[in-house]
Subunit: 414 residues, 2 copies
């Protein structure tokens, strides 16, 4: 089964928007074992959209088209599909009613051009919208098929998972329920993870289902994604569960969560379970840890605040760090205790290090010292040498410090 | 003049990497008035790379190809170019020597496959590398031309500006020096900026040179980019200078810098000029302002640190805010004075607001109060209603607060 992709929109060619849609679709197709050999971007010009779709169809069984389904005169995908199908566009009363209803519910005036979105090429099947106005379309051409979806990413993601991928799999004679599971890891490089999982990767490559992929994403850690095809939800879950156990068996020390978990959400949850609050002392990261934590709505149940002790005298005067080198495990522990005291928090977490461009106190760029102070007065520290330039080093510092706190919370008595 | 783009790499089709190269190239082509109607992604397969380049050439005068010039067996762009030109690949001794020299200088072992990068189709012109190993290639095919560049973005950006765009402009009979100037603005939406600059935009559209584009970029503000073509550097600068003055005349209150300036770098410079230091008190942003400021190397000359006063009792106990609503201009000013005092800073900057999802103290989501305390004891405050969900609101809070401080620094006596 081969499926190519056409992204429609002059703004994509002009670089005003980066085409992330076709990358997303490519990734999803690969996850279920469908090949994609050609992906095109084309502007809002009818003849050129038609030509691009024909090109993409030539060497494939199916084409996915994104964009050009909106209500303006620039939205030409419906016309292009009708032309390729050799079919007329017809007004669909049901879609028109749905769109009118949506505007009425939101108390907004509906400009008449919105009804352009109710035009459907004869012979097409409608993919229902659940998040916007323009429905998607499935259009047969001979033995092949064209799928058209809106260019708005969250509308497209939904239709792809709900309708397009299942239909593609049905056509290829395969089971059509697709489910993914992401294991979130931290502590090893992608190549080291790859090595650990080598036996599983080989086994999966010969089986073809589920598939396994690595997604490295900076201070999000490295994601290991399993994607299973099955004939029912239950079967897909069962398959994922088997392979999740196998992956975990080789990486348990690295897995900190699944799916939408983040290191900061996991740490906040562990603290909340214990009824503990958190205070920060940040030097090298200058507020990045606090910024990440407070990106989570509800962080205020656990997070008291922080002291950004960038200048050394703030470490000494506000946090009570004793004179001496400020990039050290000793200073990190004293910063953590200081944050705990000053902010009235159960737990203190502190970071001090060297982001560069120059070394500091004889410590090289990339040095990170993390300190933690626990409610019982115990303090802990660790020392790492992180890779990367200033920005990357600071990002890695955030997840490294939170990961250290997580391990302590899991291993220490409450 | 029409120029299409082909991005080569299986990883692009699989969505492991988003193809930002062709967006960048599309933007640069548009800036100098060259049309691009079709942009393709194709995998590392010789027949398919050849077919994709032929397709892209069909309806254009030129094609830019990115990627596939490296040393591995997957790098097939050179072979594809030779096939399309009907010319043999030849070993180029000069390139080979340069590559060997590069490895020697870095004290690294050169695997023999690196010399694959010294293969050049007969008839091609070499685009010298200044940042990596694989040179670029200019390959005539009949009256048309193919440009091949590495897929590494900073190598590609350099070759595009230095060799490819000038050659394209020479071929189209136009002056071939291209220079851009970016005016950084904050304080108006893109549509309001557009309206203000309407007379200039119309004039430029009829002239065609320079071009003007808006680039909206979150907490970076909105960039107004002028791109000029001329026959010499001096002429390009002169042309840019004329239009910079015209744009500034209509937007002077919004322009905070040029090119690589950021709001945080501009504010740090203003403070440094006055010999002043900065202390922060962050509530709604939770450390994001500190994180931005400390992303600048050398921030320590001005930035003392901050207090992330997320919990109300940190505002009261650490910063000395008086009892009462904490999302208020009064609280923001007291937070700023508190930060100044606690951190021993000349200037205090404070943010308190409501990021959502729920309202707070009867203030709606999007409310931001900013407070500033100056060395002479004067305090200032402002109140805004920002758009967007949690993340966007917090990003806008950062630039809004820094912009407020900038205006005060410019208007108040030192």
């Amino acid at each position: 089964m081969k499926c190519n992709v056409v992204a429609v929109g002059t703004e994509l060619l002009l670089g005003q928007i980066v085409d992330t849609n076709s990358s997303y679709i490519g990734e999803q197709l690969a996850a279920v074992g469908i090949e994609s050999h050609l992906q095109l971007k084309v502007g809002d010009n009818l003849a050129r959209v038609v030509a691009a779709i024909r090109l993409a169809l030539q060497d494939a069984d199916a084409v996915i088209i994104c964009g050009g389904l909106g209500p303006t005169h620039d939205d030409l995908t419906r016309e292009a599909l009708a032309e390729i199908m050799g079919a007329p566009l017809e007004h669909n009363e049901q879609i028109a009613a749905l769109i009118a209803d949506l505007f009425a519910k939101r108390n907004r005036y509906m400009a008449p051009n919105n009804l352009q979105q109710a035009q459907v090429p004869r012979g097409a099947t409608i993919i229902e919208q659940t998040r916007g106005t323009a429905p998607g379309l499935m259009c047969p051409v001979g033995e092949k098929v064209m799928y058209a979806m809106p260019g708005v990413p969250h509308e497209m993601h939904d239709m792809l998972a709900r309708a397009v991928l299942p239909d593609l799999l049905r056509r290829s004679g395969e089971a059509s329920v697709i489910k993914s599971l992401v294991l979130r890891t931290w502590g090893e490089s992608e190549s080291a993870l790859n090595e650990r999982l080598d036996p599983i990767i080989h086994e999966l490559e010969s089986l073809g289902n589920p598939t396994l992929a690595f997604l490295a994403s900076g201070w999000e850690g490295i994601k290991v994604r399993l994607t299973a095809k099955a004939s029912s939800d239950t079967d897909a879950d069962a398959l994922l569960s088997i392979w999740e156990q196998k992956v975990r068996a080789l990486t348990e020390d690295l897995v900190f969560g699944t799916n939408t978990d983040t290191m900061e959400s996991v740490v906040l949850n562990l603290l909340e379970e214990r009824g503990w609050t958190l205070g920060l002392a940040e030097s090298v990261t200058g507020g990045l840890v606090g910024g990440r934590i407070t990106s989570i709505a509800g962080a205020s149940r656990v997070f008291k605040g922080g002291v950004i002790s960038y200048a050394s005298d703030v470490k000494f005067d506000v946090l009570g760090v004793e004179a001496g080198p400020v990039v050290s495990e000793r200073a990190a522990m004293q910063m953590a205790s200081g944050a705990q005291r000053v902010l009235g928090a159960s737990v203190g977490l502190a970071l001090t290090g060297v982001a560069g461009p120059d070394e500091q106190d004889g410590e090289p760029v990339g040095t990170l010292c993390v300190g933690v102070a626990f409610p019982n007065g115990q303090t802990f520290s660790t020392h790492s040498q992180l890779p990367g330039q200033r920005d990357q080093m600071r990002q890695f510092s955030v997840i490294t410090a939170l990961a250290f706190l997580r391990k302590l919370l899991l291993s220490e008595p409450r």
